[in-house]
């Protein structure tokens, strides 16, 4: 079996899911045997490549940049995994959702001209932080805040072996 092209992406999240991914520890050696990490916040690649087999996305869709990237990533990746609660429910980033976006930005950055209010050097904040599946179809959901490394491996390893992963019971624990 040729090596799979795997990518990981970091949207509106705390990077805890990526820390948990690194917690795969010695299992990363088996991962490296079966896959190439072609794009990731922990790899120095600037643009999301074509022909990705599996992409794990951490975080909610919080701004216009995430939105454009997600649509493009969905087009370029065969299997899309929502990694962790923020990607599945919008989780902690969704705390701002009951409040108007303008009020949130002015409260945090002051009255004048807060970043994120209009499209500019900083992308515009979306009215709501959204779960990935509100924007594009998602193939697998991996809950947890963060999902423990064991759970990530339970989902990832079958995919690397060309099998269909099945998570149930305690492996679906949110929070």
């Amino acid at each position: 079996m040729p090596k799979l092209r795997v990518a990981t992406v970091w949207f509106s999240g705390c990077s805890g899911c990526h820390m948990s991914f690194l917690d795969l520890d010695e299992r990363l050696l088996e991962f490296a045997e079966r896959a190439d990490l072609v794009f990731s916040p922990i790899a120095d690649v600037k643009e999301f490549p074509e022909n990705v087999d599996v992409v794990l996305i951490e975080g909610a869709v919080g701004n216009t940049a995430h939105l454009h990237e997600l649509l493009e990533i969905r087009r370029r990746a065969k299997i899309l995994v929502a990694l962790g609660d923020c990607a599945i429910t919008a989780n902690v980033p969704s705390l701002r959702n009951p409040l108007p976006r303008e009020e949130v930005l002015h409260t945090v950055y002051g009255k004048d001209d807060p970043p994120g209010l209009e499209e500019g050097a900083v992308p515009k904040l979306l009215p709501h932080a959204l779960p990935l599946h509100a924007v594009v179809p998602v193939d697998y959901f991996l809950p947890g805040c963060p999902p423990p490394a064991e759970r990530i491996w339970k989902l990832l390893r079958p995919i690397l072996l060309g099998q269909r992963p099945e998570l149930s019971g305690p492996d679906l624990k949110f929070g």
Binding site: A82, D85, I88, T89, A90, N91, V92, S94, L95, N97, P98, L99, H128, P131, H133, A134, V138, F141, P143, C145, L167, S168, G169, P170, L172, K173, F174, G175
Partner: protein, 233 residues
């Protein structure tokens, strides 16, 4: 005695027993949320729906349906599994249930049901309502974001403590659990501060002050224990 079948198992039950009680005795698991031993049945959450095959497949809440002679109950089927998961997803979509920093994370009946019913995501759009938090009580707090409107607090307060502090205001998705006609909880003249509502609450909606993330353990079983210990005339 009344004879019925649940998932093909022949079950004997006393007149007046509910389908849920009969199933429990037969070792058949039916998920529940608004039901609590020691309180009157309410049928509010609909998670315990079962199908009565010889009533044309009609769906009834097993917690509030008395057994009847010859009933053929389906308690577990792909249809019921899908219905229960859908109901659960609607509960999650209705308010702001964010497990990650909830006081009840790890000790929550709603979170446990999501695992049991295989809910890996919510297919409905979230409503993200702006809901209040009342921390006016000396010992306890109520966070309406996490309330599922099961009414266990309302029933525990009325039926066990006899204080009748809690009630519902509003309708449908705008319903709120409120103390004394909408007064801040801390100003309530009827609340005895007993905390039975907190122990009966299945989520982190009612909690003890000072508890941080994952620290709020609940003892809903005390409601039945208190009821059974009470001296009878």
């Amino acid at each position: 005695m009344i004879s019925l079948t649940i998932d093909g198992v022949r079950v004997q039950a006393e007149e007046g027993e509910t389908v849920l009680q009969a199933a429990k005795r037969a070792g058949i698991r039916i998920p529940t949320l608004c039901h609590l031993e020691g309180l009157s049945p309410r049928g509010a959450c609909r998670l315990c729906l079962v199908e009565v095959r010889n009533w044309g497949g009609r769906l009834v809440p097993s917690c509030a349906t008395p057994v009847q002679e010859g009933m053929e109950i389906v308690a577990n089927s792909p249809r019921l599994r899908e219905l229960r998961r859908t109901i659960l997803e609607m509960i999650f979509a209705e308010r702001n249930h964010i497990c990650a920093f909830c006081v009840s994370n790890g000790h929550c009946e709603l979170q446990d049901l999501a695992m049991e019913l295989g809910m890996d995501h919510v297919r409905f759009p979230y409503r993200w309502p702006l809901l209040p938090l009342d921390l006016s009580h000396e010992k306890y707090g109520i966070d309406h974001n996490r309330c599922v409107l099961c009414g266990r607090c309302v029933r525990a307060c009325a039926e066990v403590e006899g204080a009748m502090t809690w009630g519902f205001s509003g309708r449908g998705i705008f319903t709120l659990v409120e103390a004394d006609l909408g007064d801040p909880w801390g100003k309530s003249k009827t609340c005895t501060g007993c905390g039975k509502c907190v122990q009966a609450c299945p989520t982190g909606a009612l909690f003890e002050k000072g508890k941080a993330t994952s620290e709020q353990m609940k003892r809903p079983e005390i409601i039945l224990e208190v009821t059974e210990r009470r001296p009878r005339a």
